[in-house]
Symmetry: C2
Subunit: 469 residues, 2 copies
């Protein structure tokens, strides 16, 4: 407090020149930053649990509820959790106002604490998405993928290329967006959610059908493609310009990085198991695994791709070891506490107010949102007609099965929002696209598999509470 | 990059006035901050694992190795991990120099990334110590404590009061330190390490002896006392003055907070179990537990005590539920990845160079270190003579058994260093005190239990590799 007050008597000029003064203030604020971080985490966890459980009750994927929970506590509604990147100040944050009352802080101190807290939560969210991708990597089975083969690969490629091209070109020529945000938004349309798709398929008993196998295989492949696309697009956003050689370099380096680490991983696997077997102290499996995952993440960032690409590659590699199950078991609680931070902050960063139809200036944003949703749906439905040599296959089912977007789409949104590439209406449009495709896919899928009535009944009989609720 | 360069053309004055400019730079640096955090975590994990495993090999507690690993990578030796609070700049950090080469950054950008990275690692370390205390709380059994009774309580109180008073008074009157740092350093001498003590006792087969039971009981009680003392002392350090009413208020509020939460916890227990049983989505046990722990931590901070006191109370409360074992299981991997960040950064923050005996100005610091070590040992050895009504008891064994300091002493050091209360020589003196008491206790304990030769042989026969190594 003393030093904060002292700074009032100093000319403003002195503050940035004497870094020691700034550091002293920071050290003094440190316990309050921790208080703010703890309170933010409490808000995040409560939002994620209430949202997740409500989703589950309505038979929707919990991740959707976590996202909506984030929207509720964030910039759109309660303002408990807001971020300075969107132009918010400490006074816009209800949480900061609470802290200011408790600790009787000066406005400058609150602003500094607000920025430190936001940065800490952002880093935790980024560690969350890294752990999420590491876990997805651990759960993706490379051998299974090879079995589904060409059909799934073609469906995946069509399902990546069509929405990406249609989205980007449409945004640039119909809505006159500049190239980088258009490419980013187009890319956010590419990746089907494995989790949501496979859950719905298993609920309607179609997971092991020909269509189900192709859908799941394609969803896994387009996740990988999506992560490569993200690495390329995020890197373009950093330099701020689209240079064809740079694009080629990025695509090649992302592919080489991923394939190279999988190939090298086959050798590394044995040493990893040998090291983990030798260690005697606590964390003997999880710490070497995290050293590997974080180092790969660092490498991914260092070669100007994305940390999550490295973490995903690390997961794919360690999936091949004997330790897989034990590791999976230990990653689960870590993911449980870190991943919700990512999904909730993605939701919290978005201000749905920018799409309020009552305000005339918002029309453009609403039209863009509608456009993205149409492209997102049609761009995936057409994939059903990419299947060949499969007489009698249900092409509608495959196309509709590919519709739901989820985790990876949100990763695009999170990175685009944090880097400032996506403006507010575009962020809101993408989050609505993710929410709507996820909401619509389950009933559509039941419809095209032509068993809507029976399934509804089974669900109702199983959970009578839902009928009342 | 563009905006960083732009700031050169602007008068220095403008930078703090236009927060949007600063934010833009921050957003641009964000991916590099993440790269820096990932690389720091890789360094921290490697240091903790190498240190921990080497300690284990030499039959010492792993936490000591993690601490020494931190010293090696930190300000004392490799300079991979340094912190701005100690006056270090980005150019002092080897890790930042590596990043600067990879990303070709301007000196201003590197400094800003360095500060953000240090802040993120500090928050992760603080979350680590919160999880650590939550876990210690989960593992402390209140009913066991009640059994050991008065003897242990008296040993604990003597073992807290004697080193605290002797240390504080000695530092103030012999070495002319001002009150706050003297009290902080004195308080750092109070808490015996449960983990280290009980491990050594079990190795020499004395855990269930009368002496062993009193030692372990007293170690648990003085951990609790130590955490209360820490909450009080850290709060004094924040206000910067010792006011007798404030001290009384703090002691009362810390005790009431701890006892109150345990009593209220008895009611809360059932609702916690009921909630956890109702939840269906991932993290249904760990997320409610962390909401509770973090909220208690927030409360602890909000009433100007410490977050760790709240986390410890939360652990004690949840220890009483049926979910205890399941929860313990899930907290372990989370603690495994967060707690080492705390111990390694505590070691890394300390610059042992300030005790280099070759430099004459360091003599004072060295003498203080020697004084603290003597007080730390004698202050605990005398506790043996506090035992009454126990004819034939080995008083030396009890006194020596209380010597090793560990986690809680390091928590004092970490908080004192981060808040700037402890100057560099005092930090170095405390870390040497913790290391030496932990090193010395095992052989001393074997000596006073009068079975040095046999035990050594058993250990050698069990682990023949150690003799060669």
């Amino acid at each position: 407090m003393q030093i904060v007050n002292l700074s009032i008597f100093l000319p403003q000029l002195l503050v940035p020149i004497h870094p020691l003064l700034a550091t002293a203030t920071k050290a003094e604020n440190a316990p309050i930053v921790l208080t703010a971080v703890l309170l933010s985490l409490v808000v995040i966890y409560i939002a994620s649990k209430i949202g997740g459980e409500l989703s589950k009750k309505f038979d929707l994927p919990p991740v959707l509820g976590e996202l909506v929970g984030g929207v509720v506590v964030g910039a759109s509604a309660l303002h408990l959790l807001v971020f300075p990147e969107s132009g918010a100040n400490a006074s816009d944050s209800v949480l900061m106002t609470i802290l200011q009352m408790i600790d009787n802080l000066s406005p400058e101190a609150v602003q500094s604490i607000f920025e430190s807290q936001s940065e800490a939560i952002s880093i935790l969210a980024e560690l969350g998405v890294i752990v999420l991708l590491f876990e997805i990597g651990l759960e993706s089975d490379l051998r299974e993928l090879q079995k589904v083969g060409y059909q799934a690969a073609i469906v995946a490629c069509v399902g990546v290329v069509v929405p990406f091209v249609a989205g980007t070109v449409g945004l640039m020529y119909l809505f006159h967006l500049s190239a980088i945000p258009a490419i980013f938004a187009g890319a956010a349309l590419t990746a089907t959610s494995i989790g949501i798709t496979s859950k719905v398929l298993s609920e309607i008993g179609q997971l092991k059908s020909r269509e189900g196998q192709i859908i799941v295989g394609a969803a896994v492949i387009d996740d990988v493609l999506g992560i490569i696309v993200l690495a390329v697009v995020a890197s373009l956003a950093k330099t701020g310009e689209v240079d064809i050689f740079n694009v080629i370099y990025l695509i090649v380096s992302a592919t080489v990085f991923l394939l190279g680490s999988i190939l090298l991983g086959k050798f590394f696997n044995n040493s990893f198991v040998a090291i983990a077997d030798k260690l005697q102290t606590r964390g003997k499996l999880i710490i070497p695994a995290f050293i590997f995952a974080f180092f790969m993440g660092f490498l991914g960032n260092a070669i100007h791709l994305e940390a999550i690409l490295g973490a995903f590659a690390a997961g794919l590699v360690l999936d091949e070891t004997d330790k897989r199950k034990e590791l999976d078991q230990q990653v689960i609680p870590i993911a449980d506490i870190l991943v919700p931070i990512f999904f909730v902050t993605v939701g919290a960063r978005v201000d749905l107010g920018v799409l309020n139809p009552a305000i005339p200036e918002n029309r453009q944003g609403l039209i863009i949102a509608a456009f993205l949703i149409v492209v997102a749906i049609i761009g995936k439905v057409v994939t059903g007609w990419a299947v060949f040599n499969q007489p009698g296959i249900n092409r509608w089912a495959i196309g509709v099965g590919m519709i739901p977007r989820g985790e990876v789409g949100l990763v695009f949104l999170g990175i685009g929002a944090a880097s400032g590439t996506l403006d507010k209406p575009l962020q809101a449009a993408i989050i609505i696209m993710v929410i709507l495709t996820t909401f619509l896919a389950p009933p559509f899928l039941r419809l095209v598999f032509k068993q809507p009535v029976e399934v509804e009944e089974v669900v109702e009989v199983k959970q009578p509470a839902d009928v009342a609720g």
